[in-house]
């Protein structure tokens, strides 16, 4: 691949260079620098586009559509009980941890998460963990990305933490009602560790098992 071809492709999409483009970037310092500058420009644009949404927007949308309806609260509770029952049986039948697989697959939906550097307060992660009855035994690094995402039909807080070993992804799910046991999932060259928390669950996704375990070992119950 020539430098001209590389830059033409990167200018159209700097977020997900393929293997041949990454190989070129490893060999060509000028193009590597070009890729980094373009990613930084995209991160700045992403940040600039984050206009604050109106407070309570989702609730108003649901109310306007008549979708906040207490009549379905009991059927929903019943379905959650059924789902919880199935969850006990399902991992044995499926032979793996579905949440871990889904968390790894989710990363490809938001590739910008690993390159964006949002300004997130230092106490943001400890506050979220405290809400799940957890805390950190040591400082693991700066949170550089935070987004609410759907995961396994629930709402998850998708975080990226810039650790000394590189970016590690966390999915915090305080409202995950399914009984979880620790599970390690390997898929697409990534490792996910799903853990039960005092409230809900936490899933750690990293490219190396030892990095995911290091972060897991820094988590404590409060």
């Amino acid at each position: 691949m020539s430098c001209i071809d590389f830059r033409r492709v990167i200018l159209a999409n700097p977020r997900q260079p393929d293997e041949s483009q990454l190989a070129h970037a490893r060999e060509c310092a000028a193009c590597r620098d070009y890729l980094e500058r373009q990613r930084e420009a995209d991160a700045q644009l992403f940040e600039a586009l984050q206009v604050p949404p109106p407070d309570g927007l989702a609730d108003r949308i649901l109310l306007a559509g008549g979708l906040r309806n207490t009549r379905w609260a009991w059927p929903l509770a019943a379905s959650l009980v059924l789902a919880a029952g199935l969850a006990v049986v399902w991992p044995r039948l499926a032979g793996g941890d579905a949440l871990g697989r889904e968390a790894i697959a989710h990363l490809s939906h938001e590739p910008q998460a690993l390159t964006i550097a949002q300004a997130v307060a230092h106490d943001f992660l400890p506050t979220l963990l405290a809400d799940q009855g957890m805390k950190l035994a040591r400082n693991i690094g700066q949170v550089t990305y935070s987004q609410i995402c759907p995961l396994a039909d629930k709402v998850a807080r998708h975080l990226v933490v810039r650790t000394a070993q590189g970016p590690i992804t966390l999915f915090l799910m305080p409202d995950d009602t399914l009984p979880r046991s620790r599970a390690v999932t390997e898929q697409d060259g990534m490792i996910a560790i799903t853990l039960p928390a005092a409230r809900g669950s936490i899933t750690i996704v990293a490219s190396r098992l030892e990095d995911a375990i290091a972060l897991e070992n820094s988590l404590r119950a409060t």
Binding site: N13, D42, Q44, P54
Partner: protein, 174 residues
């Protein structure tokens, strides 16, 4: 009323994507009130067509396409004039680490031709692939990649080139 799982899933999707859909619509119309109304319309239409949507991975692209169509329908009803400078100074990004740079970037983005601005918005804000953007905008992937390249080149020229926006212009040194 035993359609709860369907509704529960939809509620999850609303909570996850309402803010992104609002931001996308805001940058199309640059009117917060209109963007909120269009967000409501978008999810109302999404709910009406919920059974047709089965691909989890394509959900966001599907919602953005509905939002874009709602915005276009509004434009058909009444022609809305956009002032490229409107409101931009007043908008404070949620995570503005450099407010001056943020305002320059917003201005440069607002000055892009619509054909460049929209695919860039869908890619950077929406996280859509070139193929998904092409489907949403009804054109080819090659055409989208060309527009994305030109959009980024134009942004860079506005922010760093000889005709840069005043705050970012690099003055020659003696």
């Amino acid at each position: 009323m035993f359609a709860s799982p369907r509704r529960a899933r939809f509620e999850t999707v609303v909570r996850a994507y309402a803010n992104d859909v609002f931001r996308y619509l805001y940058w199309l119309c640059r009117d917060r009130s209109l963007a909120e109304d269009l967000s409501q319309e978008t999810f109302a239409r999404a709910w009406a067509a919920w059974e047709e949507q089965r691909d989890e991975k394509a959900l966001k692209a599907w919602l953005f396409t509905i939002a874009r169509n709602e915005h276009a329908r509004t434009y058909e009803r009444k022609r809305i004039e956009l002032d490229p400078e409107a409101e931009l100074d007043e908008i404070v990004s949620r995570t503005a680490s450099d407010p001056a740079l943020g305002i320059d970037i917003k201005r440069a983005f607002a000055l892009l031709p619509e054909t460049y601005r929209e695919p860039l918005l869908l890619q950077v804000l929406g996280g859509l692939s070139s193929a998904e953007i092409a489907t949403s905008l009804g054109t080819s992937e090659d055409a989208i990649n060309m527009r994305l390249s030109r959009a980024r080149r134009s942004m860079r020229e506005m922010l760093e080139g000889p005709a840069a926006l005043p705050a970012r212009r690099k003055e020659p040194t003696a």
